[in-house]
Amino acid sequence: MSMRTLPLVFINLGGEMLYILDQRLRAQNTADDNTQKGVWSDDDRKRVMNDIIATMFSKAFMEELLKPQDLYSNRALRTVLTRLAHASIMRLNPASMDRLYELMVMAFKYQLLLCPRPRDLLIISYNHIDTIREFVRDTPSVLNQVDETHRKIIEVYTPLSDGEFQLLRQTLLIFLQDMHVRVSLFLKDKVQNPNGRFALSTTGPVPHGTEVPGLIRMFSSNGKEWKRWEFPTGGSYTSSIRVGSFERFGDRVIRIGTNMYSVTQPEETHTSKNFSQKANSEPNPLAKEELNLLARLLGGMKVQNRNTETGFRVNLFATDQEEEEAGASGGNGDQSFQVINIQATQAVQVNTELARIAGEFTGEPEQTESPEGPSNKGEDLLAMMDELIEL
């Protein structure tokens, strides 16, 4: 369908990823728990954020995304996003990446559904860019890349019609269909129901350009209104609020797409799978075309060459004991709420063409041996993505 989905997909999904990573890395810094073997310092956090953002907003990467093309398959998208997440010294194991991906995707689905007008998807994207700009405001070179990309996005997307934006939105909704992972933050705020579906309200301001429902007007053949009356609407709507800014700066007005994690500082966000997700393992193998596209895209990702350090292994739980416990509990989270069995292992190198291509661009050895020196930082604590709600 729409040939223009990819740049917005990466800005929004990538943006959500950055919000989550930023919040978790900050949380490590301020955590009282002394059982952690090491903490991520402010500098480490900024470095990770800078590296990922620099990769995501690099000219080559964005140029590739901006070429008119179909949306990637779920698998391909996940692969690229995993590469992005690993653009720095931080490493996530597959299970952590799973949870991160679920969170990102559900947040984006929520944003798409609640988007007042299809065109407001741009505002949502700009909200992400605005926050990303804040993350790298101390690094002029990366900040410049973000600004450049923002300019380009404005240039490409501003001329699209409302119908084209709706097509774009529909393409993305089809892509996200049948995903109902429950996110504790959404459940708490009652924006998501226990069955995983989002709550859509029938109250509030109407989108800009829409009239408040309830009025019927009749016209005579010379164009004059000769009768008007009202009908009960079953909702309670108010007039639209002002339009947000579609420029590089300005009041966006719409809050969807802003960093919802910054508000929930101490709390961790959990996800749980109640219903089986749309199968990742579709019998449909990655078509050769897609692989080529992907290779070009990954080729456009310049990862900073950090020869001094190797990747740090990521643990999912605060202590070794918890890790063992997690490993012990079985279940595969099918229909009921269960703790998903998490293997705190190193990222397994997937033996595919893609991984080979991906490996060529890290400039680092893919195997992550135990780091020396500041080794404690390797015991990372992105545990929030792996704990589940048990109800």
């Binding site: 709706q166 097509l167 939105r169 016209f219 078509a287």
Partner: protein, 336 residues
């Protein structure tokens, strides 16, 4: 006015597409067929009127073996012709036509895809059976294909290409009152809200062009010479087809309208939108004043659902069915 009946479960959920429900009533067999699009395939359910028997069939988009996202189906609809009913599927790749129960594909028309990838998406969308022998299908470029359909067999031919719209076609509708007196046979709508009114024939004739206001018209119907159009702004407008005179304007919904339907014998109108609401209206023609009146009858809120399809199940509007994005059921309502 209506109450909810038992829903029909589908094999997969409905996609967020305009007019994503088609209903075919087969009186001789006491059956109703429903089709709903899910990404690159179509769910077809046949339901017996006694509510006891349901059977399912799934139709694939042609050339669905390549990456999923490039062979999405945009719409599936039945075309009722005097001698046969044809199920038409429009996708990014082309147009598939089946015998009414979906068992045999009788025709395939591939869309021209450009050599190099352009930013303009390529797909077919908008399906209507016109008079006795035509099936019209819209294209993303704005063109419309007119197919000539024989009484039986697969010798379907492309009769004409209508080039009038400049934006992607969103929906097509043919005169559904059954009256032979109406001059206009078909109306076409596009992404900028422009409406074209046509007379069918060996060469289709453009009778009128009703300009849009840069807002997509996602669903359109034609009844007794009146065009009923639903827009992305949530408005419904009624026009006199051949003159373009506006009869009425309704601030009907708070979000994008996705589906309109008319029950031709009673003049009931059904509208459904992303705002979770289905509304039933009544249209009355007043020949003396040459006007059409629209009166609101009923609301139904499908909680937490962005509705993508709503159709009457019969010509009187005694029952209607609704589909919503991500929902795997067809929700039904009947008059009390």
């Amino acid at each position: 006015m209506y109450h909810k009946e038992k829903s029909i479960q589908m094999k997969s959920s409905a996609s967020a597409l305009y007019n994503n429900l088609s209903v075919l009533r087969i009186a001789p067999r006491s059956l109703t067929y429903f089709t709903v699009v899910h990404a690159n395939m179509v769910n077809m359910v046949s339901a017996s009127w006694d509510g006891l028997n349901y059977s399912h069939r799934q139709l694939q988009s042609k050339e669905a073996n390549v990456a999923t996202s490039s062979s999405l189906i945009m719409q599936a609809a039945w075309c009722v012709l005097p001698s046969r009913d044809i199920l038409v599927l429009t996708s990014q790749k082309g147009i598939q036509m089946y015998e009414s129960d979906g068992s045999i594909m009788v025709y395939w028309h591939a869309l021209d895809t450009p050599e190099t990838q352009t930013a303009q998406a390529v797909f077919a969308r908008g399906i209507a059976a016109v008079r006795e022998k035509y099936i019209c299908v819209g294209i993303s470029s704005g063109s419309m294909l007119v197919f000539d359909v024989p009484i039986k067999g697969s010798n379907i031919t492309l009769s004409e290409v209508l080039e009038e719209h400049k934006e992607s076609i969103t929906d097509l509708a043919s005169e559904c009152s059954g009256s032979q007196e109406c001059i206009a046979d078909m109306v076409s709508a596009d992404d900028s809200g422009n409406l074209c009114v046509w007379k069918s024939g060996e060469d289709f004739q453009l009778l009128n062009k009703i300009p849009g206001f840069q807002m997509s018209c996602s669903s359109v119907k034609l009844w007794k010479g009146t065009v009923v159009a639903g827009y992305g702004t949530g408005q419904i407008r009624l026009y006199e087809a051949v003159t373009g005179i506006v009869h009425a304007e309704v601030n009907a919904h708070a979000r994008w309208i996705y589906s309109l339907d008319i029950a031709p014998f009673s003049g009931l109108l059904l509208s459904a939108a992303e705002d979770s609401l289905v509304r039933v209206w009544h249209l009355t023609m007043t020949p003396e004043t040459n006007s059409v009146e629209i009166v609101h009858m009923y609301n139904e809120c499908v909680t937490d659902t962005q509705i993508c399809g709503a159709k009457f199940c019969d010509g009187d509007g005694y029952a209607f069915a609704v589909t919503g994005y991500d929902l795997s059921e067809i929700i039904r309502y009947t008059q009390v």
